[in-house]
Symmetry: C2
Subunit: 353 residues, 2 copies
């Protein structure tokens, strides 16, 4: 038996004492169902199966989409934009400082859709360039928000949970478990702290570098992170614009990610409530019939799991049909179950073909 | 047997003739697995189970989140904003037309984060008001994009598929099936057409009402739908601003929804490729052991489905554990399977308690 201790610690159920008490009169269970083995972990575990299962590179890319390339895309995109807008520098109207800095600043203000309007394209060519740049920038921005930041935040989570439980003795598996349960909450916490810092830093820089009043600085920060960008208050000095390049990008992305996590939390809450309802509602004979996939008159544990997960909307009939089709092909001896002999038969028939 | 014809037509597998040919030497299947019954449909079907299963209102709300309230939220939000900014009308700087129209236009430009800057708050009070307004507007905008529009687009899909297959005889179930398979593609198609119309209408209105050149009008449309809003070109006339109120809201929401669908399509493609890899990779004895939930030495169809869906990342061990816990409680006679007698025992014990 390929016991997987990582899986066990990661997904071990927390026992609810209230619940146990309620069922105290029920005799101890005869059958033990395994709750610890995760197919995902078996596949991903480096030490166990990698030699047996040569995983094609494309699968690794599927499981871990190309977020590592996001910084490269961003750098290329900004470099191209800066070069283009430097070349049409004379056609851009507004308060200028340095050609390169202004172009980069204009790129950032455009791609994040802040669009202050302190620098605006003044010719047809530069206008069309800006149009193309903002559309591609939005697509890239979506990639950064959904992939790049999420990846970074996930890494911070582990540090955060470690820091929060510094005084208690917790192993790495407990940390992973703790994160698994409250994943989105921790993410929101991490992003909120980052947003608070960015708000503070932005306000302070605007007060001291751009010499704004406190209210104006705060107003400009709000206008920027939300990508509103009226443009009556913006970065006008060289130092301010250099700061703005980094600050605008991080703060707008952070706020977008924050809203994304809030939406995720809401849908998670709704899903959990639905799951609870599905699990607590009374089973009837009609449900039993519907759940009985192999039509043998009884519902086994796995059939019950599928029925309930389907009811929760986590899986659909299409997915199940696909897998069952595959099952029928693998079940060479037509017994309705897969055993070692099926595997051997399947392998020998595939070598024959 | 409560046969569900809706479910059968809806999810009946399309037979791939190529695939059938390849397996021509395989004898016909002994066991037929049911591929037609959907728990979701059983639950949702009005005619079958509703009297037996009194569904609490909260569940209906969980399945159909409160998107029907989105227009009401939007109306209240815009009405409140218009009243507030009308009251501080004197503190708003820029080209004015009519107090009410300008306030509503300012609300729309702010909530969509277009932020032209043709009207800007000129006092501390109005600046703070605008800050509060843009944050709440972003949250509401997210709700509109993720819920409201998706609901509307889904309705259009059915009409679209009907229109595309007008010459062929297709029943409502075929249409639903066709939509199920290419859901996101159809959604992207619907939104793209809508965007194209909005682009055209916006450009034409800007040319004729705001008297812009074609390039300027196109540039202003791009600046607006992306919420960039430099503000060098914007709606300055009364008629233009009345049009802008409706046009800005729909076009910005449409573009955001378009990007959302593109992201959905990408993740769907990745998921399908992963599913294909999971289904076609060779099963080993270790896989069999891992898949065998009830430890009886063989893997039945339902166990195989769970194992593969877990590998595809569609379900996780936590979900399965929750359902198995429920199963063990229902399995009163400890047989490892649920049958009619378990249901009766469970009901009698629950009435005793």
């Amino acid at each position: 038996m390929a016991s997987n201790s990582t899986g066990q610690s990661l997904f071990a159920r927390t026992v609810d004492p209230m619940h146990q008490k309620k069922n105290a009169n029920v005799p101890p269970k005869r059958r033990g169902f395994r709750r610890c083995k995760s197919a995902h972990l078996v596949v991903l575990d480096k030490n166990s199966n990698n030699e047996r299962l040569p995983r094609p590179k494309s699968i690794v890319r599927m499981l871990h989409p190309n977020f590592k390339w996001v910084p490269v895309y961003l750098a290329v995109y900004l470099a191209l934009g800066t070069i283009c807008f430097s070349l049409v520098d004379k056609q851009i109207k507004g308060k200028k400082t340095n050609a390169i800095i202004d172009s980069l600043y204009f790129c950032i203000v455009t791609m994040t859709t802040v669009g202050y309007g302190d620098l605006v394209p003044g010719s047809n060519l530069s206008k069309l360039l800006a149009c193309a740049y903002v559309f591609s920038g939005m697509a890239l921005g979506g990639l950064i928000v959904s992939k790049g930041v999420d990846y970074l935040v996930e890494k911070q989570e582990i540090l955060l949970v470690k820091a929060l439980h510094m005084n208690q003795k917790v192993g790495p598996f407990d940390i992973l478990k703790e994160i698994e349960t409250n994943k989105v909450m921790y993410k929101i916490f991490v992003v909120s702290i980052l947003l608070l810092v960015l708000f503070l830093v932005g306000t302070i820089v605007l007060i001291f570098v751009e010499e704004m009043s406190f209210i104006d600085a705060f107003y400009c920060v709000c206008c920027t992170v939300t990508t509103l960008g009226y443009g009556d208050k913006s970065f006008k000095s060289k130092i301010g614009r250099i700061f703005a390049v980094f600050w605008i990008l991080t703060s707008t992305v952070c706020l977008a990610q924050f809203f994304l996590y809030i939406a995720e939390l809401n849908s998670q809450k709704r899903q959990r409530a639905l799951a609870e309802w599905v699990l607590t509602r009374e089973m009837t004979n009609l449900d039993l019939e519907a759940a009985d996939i192999d039509d043998d008159g009884v519902v086994n544990a796995a059939e019950f799991v599928i029925y309930k997960l389907k009811e929760m909307g986590k899986i659909n009939q299409e997915d199940i049909n696909l897998v069952i089709k595959e099952f029928e092909e693998l079940d060479v001896d037509q017994s309705g179950t897969l055993s070692g002999s099926d595997i051997i038969l399947a392998q020998s028939s595939s070598t024959k073909m």
